[in-house]
Symmetry: C2
Subunit: 694 residues, 2 copies
């Protein structure tokens, strides 16, 4: 993951003294992420080593409407002096990667000298453009800046280029209690979107456009965009302001990272740091797509279109793994190629194919957008189903059941096992869904179907083989315990000795060699609990409770993906205390840096998971077979909560308190859904329904 040109650099000199929080005295410092308006604010009063006091107010925004633009506003007010003030605004192309202090398998090594190379620079008055290129893939990036002093008159303006940087300097005579305001506009353009030779002028043109709009109007525009977002997606909790803040912080981060372009996914850490090298994983589909489908369907669709756009890579990967047919999505990737180096906890996680199929299904159920299936989804679905069919075998010693050997489930604390229960259940669902979709398309969309089967040379007998495999899939089950073993050999291992493991030994993966962890019954996150959430109809409530009772004590939650799933399932099976406990482990995980690794970046999937804790967990929202339903309750220490979702184009507000649920249609003509099994229809004649809670 390469860092782009750093455009945030603005240096301030009071006479010859450089402003720095590390020198002098900080009399006031306040940093505010204004989620309502969408900008970052820093307010400081600083006394220099020589005693000059200055008030500094910095605003920064990354535009959500003009996706190429960043804007800065720096207000500088001398409080007790007059004299020369120098402001330097720079672009720096020599950006290192973060150095990781400790070895950590979740993060990659520094790139060393493999950063971006400056290939072109332009500097004119207060404007600069820098073009940089990646070493190997030769992708280009242009970054432009424009700097305007909107208050204050410089007696000297200069500029300078050195090596990998460009600098614009203003010198002014600062006056006591008189504000100086610098506005800086930055734009980024890359050769992935535009022709290389156009990049500098496009970036330069965009900063000019931004300058003409001005910082305040950019901020107003941002404000408006955010207002709309919070109207549609904001969540309210009465009686629990800390977790309410956590939920909305998480939503804000998800909103910010949505690329909406069909060419990119969402990295595990969003764009917030370098953990996991900016790679996209299955958690996009399992955690984030369901949230976007309910709040921001366009992004959900674009994320799935991205998977379609890398389908050719997934086909090649399947060939590399000796599958004559089908597609295998990479465990971790950006451009589409497999990026995992340790395949037992990478490529062996074949379940990523099912995660993508499942997200397609959930997206369509929530939005009703079957055109996605026709345009993209069916091809993904069929190609990935082919892989499941090719990967498995009818095994004599397993009663000729269809088995998957040497795979790894989501819980990476075991690897390369036979019949990972999650994988087998998901493959079964996937094969069945592909089979049903093929038949549905054949009948209802014969032209689309015909084009598709010709394109991918799909035969009827293959489709039949999917059904047959799905029917015969082997599901490991322990008749004595009446619990699903995570895989064939899982119950043949000893349970990890948790009583002998001190708190500082977690996460286990940082303190024990995989060969140690693999030898025990211990889960980083639980496969089985996730299967029960995703394929809820496959399990009775009693079965869910037994599996939960078995796996909960042996799960360390060393993965941030774990707590939200436990919370949702706990809500469903009536373990309300657990549901709330795991919700709190999820909702402020980054705000409170619970895993002590937020410096490597935010845990995007968990952020989505925390919203799911409320909506799928507390409110029991489901979209079974295209039918929306709720089964809400109010956590004991809450007075109430309210959220909105968009279902098939209609927006519904759900307000829950301890004895009542109100459903309100506030956008769209009509919506029908189930409340605890009872059908409710809202339309122009009845925009709200109130239901008592027992």
């Amino acid at each position: 993951m390469l860092n782009v040109t750093d455009s945030k650099i603005i240096e301030l000199y009071l006479g010859k003294e450089r402003f720095s929080l590390l020198n002098g005295k900080v009399l006031k410092f306040k940093r505010t992420l204004d989620m309502e308006k969408g900008y970052l604010l820093r307010e400081m009063i600083w006394r220099s080593p020589l005693g000059k006091e200055v008030k500094i107010t910095l605003k920064r925004l990354v535009s959500l409407t003009k996706r190429h633009v960043m804007a800065f506003q720096h207000q500088i007010e001398p409080l007790n002096f007059s004299g020369i003030i120098t402001i330097n605004s720079s672009l720096n192309g020599a950006v290192d990667n973060h150095m990781h202090e400790e070895e950590d398998p979740r993060y990659s090594a520094s790139l060393g000298d493999l950063g971006l190379i400056v290939t072109n620079k332009m500097l004119e008055n207060t404007k600069a453009v820098m073009v940089q290129e990646t070493l190997r893939s030769k992708l280009s990036l242009a970054c432009a800046m424009e700097n305007c002093l909107t208050k204050g008159s410089p007696f000297a303006t200069s500029n300078e280029q050195t090596g990998d940087s460009a600098k614009v300097s203003f010198q002014l005579n600062g006056e006591i209690n008189k504000k100086i305001v610098l506005e800086k506009y930055v734009a980024y353009y890359t050769s992935r979107d535009y022709p290389v030779n156009k990049l500098p002028e496009m970036a330069a043109g965009m900063v000019e456009e931004a300058r003409l709009i001005g910082f305040q109007d950019l901020l107003n525009e941002q404000n408006k965009y955010c207002q709309q977002f919070w109207d549609n997606s904001g969540i309210t909790v009465e009686g629990d302001p800390k977790t309410e803040q956590g939920l909305n912080f998480n939503l804000f981060q998800l909103m910010q990272v949505a690329g909406c372009n069909g060419q990119t996914g969402i990295p595990a850490k969003g764009l917030t740091s370098e953990g996991y090298d900016g790679h996209y994983f299955w958690d996009t589909e399992i955690y984030m797509v369901p949230v976007f489908a309910a709040l921001f369907p366009e992004e959900a669709r674009k994320l799935l279109e991205y998977r379609f756009n890398i389908l050719h890579h997934a086909r090649s990967r399947a060939r590399e793994l000796s599958h004559k047919k089908g597609a295998l999505y990479p465990w971790r990737t950006i451009a589409g190629e497999e990026g995992s180096s340790y395949f037992p906890a990478g490529t062996a996680q074949y379940h990523i194919n099912a995660a993508i199929a499942h997200a397609i299904n959930k997206y369509i159920e929530m939005t009703g957008d079957y055109s996605f299936m026709l345009d993209y989804g069916a091809e993904i679905l069929f190609e990935t189903a082919r892989l499941w069919e090719d990967l498995g075998d009818y095994i004599p010693s397993k009663g000729n059941k269809f088995c998957y050997n040497e795979v790894t489930g989501p819980d990476e604390y075991t690897a390369l096992v036979n019949n990972n229960c999650y994988t087998n259940y998901m493959a079964q669902w996937h094969l069945q869904y592909a089979y049903e979709t093929a038949h549905f398309l054949k009948q209802k969309h014969p032209d689309t179907y015909q084009r598709l089967i010709e394109k991918i040379v799909l035969q009827d007998k293959e489709i039949e083989a999917w059904r047959e495999a799905a029917e015969n899939i082997y599901i490991p089950y322990d008749q004595k315990l009446k619990v699903h073993p995570q895989d064939d050999g899982f119950f043949d291992k000893k349970i990890w000795d948790f009583s002998a493991t001190s708190a500082d030994k977690y996460p286990l993966m940082l303190h024990y060699h995989p060969l140690v962890i693999y030898r025990y019954q211990v889960c980083k996150q639980s496969d089985m609990i996730l299967a029960q959430l995703l394929l809820e109809d496959n399990f009775t409530l009693e079965q869910k409770r037994r599996d939960y009772d078995y796996y909960e004590p042996i799960t360390t939650h060393d993965s941030s993906l774990s707590p939200s799933i436990f919370s949702i399932v706990a809500s469903e099976i009536g373990y309300f205390e657990d549901a709330y406990k795991f919700y709190t482990m999820s909702v402020r995980l980054d705000l409170d840096n619970l895993l002590k690794d937020t410096n490597y970046g935010l845990h995007m999937a968990n952020m989505a998971g925390s919203w799911l804790c409320v909506v799928k967990g507390f409110a029991g929202m489901r979209t079974k077979g295209g039918q929306l339903s709720f089964n809400p309750y109010c956590p004991q220490n809450w007075q109430g909560y309210r959220f909105r979702i968009i279902f098939k184009g209609s927006r519904l507000e759900v307000s829950v308190n301890s004895n009542k649920v109100s459903y309100k249609l506030f956008e769209g003509d009509k919506i029908s859904f189930f409340h605890k099994g009872q059908k409710i229809v809202l339309d122009a004649g009845r925009e709200q329904a109130d239901c008592e809670l027992p």
Copy 2:
């Protein structure tokens, strides 16, 4: 694996034409490895592009008696011209690693610029010394050369240093039919053996000593050494000259590589090329130590002393893997640290501990040298037994049997399995042997025992736990097939489709991703067959045949370690055709480049294995409980064969033909052994026994 200073370079110019086999015309070329005398001979007649003909005779030896010395003799005879001849003799310190054309998991990438650095050079008349150093570990190496024209008088002698090289030049007036002879003496010294500051003078002194001895006397000394070796170890086959040559070539290579210093092991490829990075593996103990124990006991002992000398690393490695006690030997190493990067087919091969214990046992049985046990062996044995005790667990779902989960056996075509049958059998044997040894030492060598248990803080209850674990070890067995599954899940996999696998797809590991190979019943080499050889008493003949019949068809022999083991076991169970077939796969594997990878180096373990095919296979030699026994037969297409071994200090010659075996004591006072169960004693009164074969 770093290449030392190249001292082999001798250039020849006829006038201005440089001798090269790539130019001009080669009228005669013959290369002979004279194994009897121990030197390499090249005889050439070459016609230069301008028509000058020259006869060149090159002899080269690496002294087996003066371990620091190499010597060269170059004879040059102008056949049809007189004129200026120039001879340049060089040392070159800039030695690259071989570049590997194809990606191959068995070989590592090139080291790039990580070669040796020249730190010091001296050049005086015809002598040069070069000192080089490794980049990271700062090991030093000095290489000296001395050059003498013993026939021919140069009219000019010069020398030159440039960068990483040193050169000595002679210019002569060559005369038709008059021989010119250059003798070059080279010596290497390293800081592992001597103080850094002494290295240059030691190397210089040694080439001076070699020069005084002279090439011919060095060759005579070499000849004498080799004669002794062949007298003791040579093997004769009547009626099969090609495999006889193969056997003796293999013995010659083993003899050459024996370091006899206790500080080094034998790399997988010996010192012949860069495959496997010069690392030592378990095959030293399982394949080579038994051969050395029977032919060259001092080297067998030194190889085991090397393991003792790295025991502290093995202890550290065990701690890294969370074992509170005991030692885990590295899967691949030179200095003692684990060098494997892909641990599922590296560190997970815990069976290396048992291989070392087994070799200690075999060495003592063959030599009677129990002092090794007292001085070194017991400490290794107990520390490694501790690891087996700590690694396993009593597993309720396996009837509370003692199980080993998530280990990898010798067959790397499966990895990370539960209860690898080979591993469990070997661990059982190892624990029992450690238990018995502890009791034996306690009674017979109480002082040694006391010192040792104090040193390693060994408690009686630990020793008791070894016995208990050994008694309770879980052995996977399929009651229906009456065959041992290779591991718990092995029979739950489909058998590899060999009929659909064309010959060019072998070795499978170069053509299929491990995830594909791991999914099938297919063996690179068979664990079970090896267990039957090493622990022969654990299996009835019928069981051995059933297991052999099961595993032989699913073994690809993609590992050079495989055929010899199959051959020996086939001999034992009466599958004589198979025994001979697998023997031929082993015996000329490198001479005929059967695996097409001899360019990466000789397969040292297989070379030892081919001798075992004859001695343990055809002649049925065993050393059970310190008793030597034979059960010989003569392969059908052989008239006979003869070999010698040394057993407890007495040397025995065994001659077998189709109807008779002769045993002859030719060194030592007395030897007793069993022939097909019948006890035979040879001594001064009866030096030979002849036994009829049915």
